[in-house]
Symmetry: C2
Subunit: 208 residues, 2 copies
DNA sequence: ATAAAATTGTTGCACTTGCAACATTTTACA
DNA sequence: TGTAAAATGTTGCAAGTGCAACAATTTTAT
């Protein structure tokens, strides 16, 4: 659960949506939602389902930028919908809440305390997004698969432990690390043989 | 020049700084400024000089995350100062303006129109930062030096032209792309020989 | 103007990795 | 419960790239 509505009651949340004239859209599985919401300066919130945010370069290679789950945000003023190589593809039936960014910034809203909390939460989430991206950049600048794995494991330990719980499967881990999956599997085998890690399902234990 | 003070006059800017109780710090060359500003929930603005934002992983490899120039922003609520592997190193004598984030979010400020513009500008800048990082991630997931170069060139054309003007030298380009500099030089030679690009100083012309 | 420092260019070599092609196992779903 | 689909595991091989070590050039500072 994201922090977007932290400190805001369900009642206030509904008031906020009225105040901001939010729109709700529902999409079937595997739809690019950008054509529906394009040309508007908006903030979108995933309310149900999930969305894969991808970017395709000029020769057709696609990068998975992030997976947006319930209460994650996206939008012109947050990511880069204006870029036509970018797609937001629904995974499963998906509902999104759309807020007009201009309305969000209207002064008359400001007397409401929950409005201020909402703006603060938005900043906090953007902060976390930037931090996550910095972390991924740091990992991607490693020159070997081994170092990418080790840095990933190191910076994703469960607090106070030597365990990492993968938030996705190994195929997606390879994509996240920007490496060939089979080559990554080989490297994981070496790491296990050298007893630097142990793997049990999606739990990796760091032994080094 | 960043957009942080777009639509805000110099007079209003000074009023804003008074309103927000900003602090100004000046540092000599090559100082890590984090110890001075740590433990505060702040937004920092570079007013003079520049700052290299680096991240060092657990085995000592350092990644240059971004270079902050005049009017660029940083901070707990924007990047990840709480992370102790992170450094903000001044390049040359550098002055920064520090704004307490809590104060920035105080409701009593809100009647001022320039305050609202300032908040909007902050969102816009964060948006651009996220977009830049997404672009870099997209480039870094390419598996060959050649493809990283070509995608970089393609997504950094000067508007409406086939020219790219490097904002840094080739050594830093290699760091940005996460590749060995000498290997990159070799690849650039091949690209020139195959007449896919032309290089004249820091101007690259795309011929493909 | 000159020395020092930084940047750029070059190349051999070892090694990592992508790729392809396929086997095996697990998961999804009708 | 059975079958298709997805995920994981394996391996040979060619190709790309990091690394090291050095030369040449350009920039910076005094």
């Amino acid at each position: 659960m994201s922090a977007l509505f932290n400190g805001i009651s369900e009642k206030e949340k509904n008031k906020l949506f009225t105040l901001l004239h939010t729109h709700v859209y529902t999409f079937e599985d595997n739809i690019n939602i950008i054509p529906t919401i394009r040309n508007t300066n908006i903030i979108g919130i995933v309310d149900e389902g999930s969305i894969e945010f991808t970017k395709t370069n000029y020769y057709g290679d696609t990068t998975l930028i992030e997976v947006l789950e319930k209460d994650d945000i996206f939008g012109t003023s947050i990511s880069s919908l204006y870029n036509n190589e970018v797609e937001l593809i629904t995974k499963g039936k998906t509902t999104v809440i759309i807020i007009d960014f201009k309305r969000l910034m209207k002064e008359e809203n400001i007397s409401k305390s929950y409005y201020n909390i909402f703006i603060q939460n938005l900043f906090t989430i953007l902060n976390e997004k930037i931090k996550d991206k910095n972390d991924r950049i740091s990992i991607l600048t490693n020159k070997t698969i081994r170092n990418r794995l080790l840095e990933y494991f190191n910076s994703n330990r469960a607090a106070g432990t030597n365990n990492v719980y993968l938030p996705f499967n190994f195929t997606n881990l390879a994509a996240y690390l920007g490496v060939d999956r089979s080559a990554m599997t080989r490297e994981l085998k070496y790491l296990k043989e050298e007893r630097l890690i142990e793997i049990k399902g999606k739990r990796i234990t760091i032994l080094y």
